[in-house]
Amino acid sequence: MAVQLLSGNEAIAQAAWEAGCALGVGYPGTPSTETLENLVLKEDCHCEWSPNEKVALEVGIGASLGGLRSLVTMKHVGLNVAADPLMSVCNAGVNGGLVILAADDPSCHSSQNEQDSRVYADFARILCLDPSDSAEAYEYTREAFDLSERFDVPVMLHETMRIAHTKSLVELTGERTEVEPKDYVEDISKWVMMPAIAVQRRAAADKRTQELIAYAETSPLNRIEMRDSSLGIICAGAVYEHVREALPEASTLKLGITWPLAPELLKSFASQVDRCIVVEEASDYLSLRVKAYGIQLDSPDVSPLPIAGELSPARIRTAFGKEMPESIDVATDLPPRPPALCPGCPHRFVFTELKRMKAIVMGDIGCYTLGAVAPFRAVHSTIDMGASVSMAHGMELARASERASRPVVAVIGDSTFAHSGITSLLGTIYNAGTGTVLILDNRTTAMTGTQGNPVNGVTLSQQMTQKNPLDHPEGKAVDLIALCQAMGVEDLREVDAQNMKAVRTALSEATKNTSQLSVVIFKSPCQLIDRARGPIPEIVDCRACGQCIQIGCPAIYKDETGRAVIDSSQCVGCGQCAQTCPFGCIS
């Protein structure tokens, strides 16, 4: 036994390994990413990144059918991509234990939406476990594999960012329980979801639901803690910790199992307290389902809980009219400091040029979404992974470019292109689209922390153990030029994204070609993986024209006289500012 300070994701990786998990598979996405990055470092557990979450879940289902205990990880929006296999494997069941980690991001710290993944557990009628700190993440993960096999059900392990990225103390055994792979058993009546079989499997799943409810009624993962009986709170996950801090006297029903709910347990708790209230964040998942069992829920004393965004003890105290400490007002006059493209970022010139051309830009998910912020403001839509390419085709069908007299382009990164841009491009090619698609190939999955992907060929194991894995990728890197050619793209260019004039020329030529589809691949490594640093430029006789400032580099700013100054602590010597100076003052 050892006590360690672990994040929720580290605890889940440790527990999965201890539980004999032999396969980890997923797609990177905040806040889920570090789970596989920790699991891959352990022995006897193969881990890999998939091109997307649907593929990852299907790999996990195959490994489960083949007899392995498998962990599949993704962020909440990834579960939308994986929803198709989920909604059928829920009826097929498992062979080796199958655990799906769904990591939610209330308040959208690093996401395009806020969604409660537990709705999918209800939708698919699969067991859902909801830890409230790292110790529980560890305990529940170990339990999840056993429960998956015992009830023949894929298990959703649900966490939010405050569980995934909060470190707390975990007492762990540190020992792996070796689990022999189960034999593959051919069973068409369980695994082939054709109509006659699917109907029978649905009936089997419904019977299983009754067994899961019976388990949830008495499981130690659900816990009534009686304190003052005048107020009872039903809660789960990180919210439980906020409730204990804000309302220390209140009795609690802490749900470790959030699907299925245990109706008798809920009714028993409600009958023991004068007022029963559900406290949950960014969702009405629990309250709707508790009410559906006919349980009368009360409201907080002063104001309703917020319907969106993360909860905190302060937000709960406010709703319940509890005393708050004195605090200084928020300073509202400070210059904002949102995330920005890094100094040396190879995406920068693409966006300065798109802005100059007044292009309408269909964007995508990645660092380059930051092309939407000042000074660029050159990304005009971001919906989901791969949408840039297909939305640009839709804009073409709407004749948006002609009517606005502005070029329409799609901007998508290498990893996102592999994730779901390829099928989008296929749709444009198939339907004879003539738009412009820009693939920003920075050789890595940058936003989530420079992961390997099918375009750079770097494997997950390599990414975690080697210094410059890009030099000798162990996986097979797809050749984007050959891929586009094979798909039928004729107007195709590869351009150095760090050369401003080349970027300008390529964008001009590609958008002027309105008779056929144009694809431009901007191939330059992300500054987070390419550590080659040039000398810090010198500025001589600055004319204070401000051109270099307008590229939005965090390492260059104006002094009191309006002249450009380089912040040598941040500058990486990329030379982008020198290329923009019309007077040649930066060298």
């Binding site: 300070l5 710290h109 405050r162 990180a238 804000a246 890094c342 307008q550 939005g552």
Partner: protein, 191 residues
């Protein structure tokens, strides 16, 4: 001990995460319950960042609410003011006397406040030129550990526990430089 809330704020890339790690390990080895909440992903790209460390006999929530921070360590002056509402009435603020110009100011859509020092003084902040201290001892990359040294003077954690945390958490070849930076930070706080 009642839960102590320590907030480390700065700009992505300044080393707030390592500082949080050192505090968390020093608090853990001192026998406290500990929670550390970090921000990863998009928010890290050169934007404002924060790490919350809470420790005590039994820590519940992992977030820092307005009016609850016992100590705020700001790695950059504007970020200190951005976090001012989180400071407890009795709270202390330690500020690295450095400014990193936000892109919003460079491109002319926002202005730097002109009264940063006055406002920090009103907050009772202790200003330390941690970058200069780190350069003076010949390890310019240890600015964050200088600030950790300053922080250590405000908490009930022994000097030995801090030194142990440094030995465990920094790369082996930088242990001596970081121990020196820590000591310099402790002295700077005493002046």
């Amino acid at each position: 001990m009642n839960t102590q809330t320590i907030l480390l704020v700065g700009v992505g890339g300044q080393g707030t995460i390592l500082a949080g790690k050192l505090l968390a390990h020093a608090a853990t080895s001192s026998g406290y319950d500990v929670k550390v909440s970090e921000i990863h992903g998009m928010s890290q790209r050169g934007g404002s960042v924060n790490t919350t460390v809470r420790f005590g006999d039994d820590v519940k929530s992992m977030v820092a609410d307005p009016g609850y921070a016992d100590v705020i360590v700001a790695f950059e002056a504007i970020e200190a003011l951005r976090a001012q509402h989180l400071l407890a009435p009795h709270g202390r603020m330690i500020v690295n006397d450095e400014r990193i110009v936000p892109v919003s100011v460079s491109i002319g859509i926002a202005d730097m406040p002109t009264d940063i020092h006055d406002r920090l003084e009103d907050l009772g902040a202790v200003l330390i030129d941690a970058g200069q201290v780190a350069r003076d001892i010949g390890s310019p990359r240890s600015t964050n550990v200088v600030l950790v040294g300053a922080l250590s003077r405000t908490l009930e954690i022994s000097e030995e526990a801090w030194q142990e945390a440094i030995r465990e958490q920094v790369p082996a070849h930088t242990i001596d430089a970081n121990l020196k930076a820590f000591e310099s930070g402790r002295q700077a706080m005493g002046l």
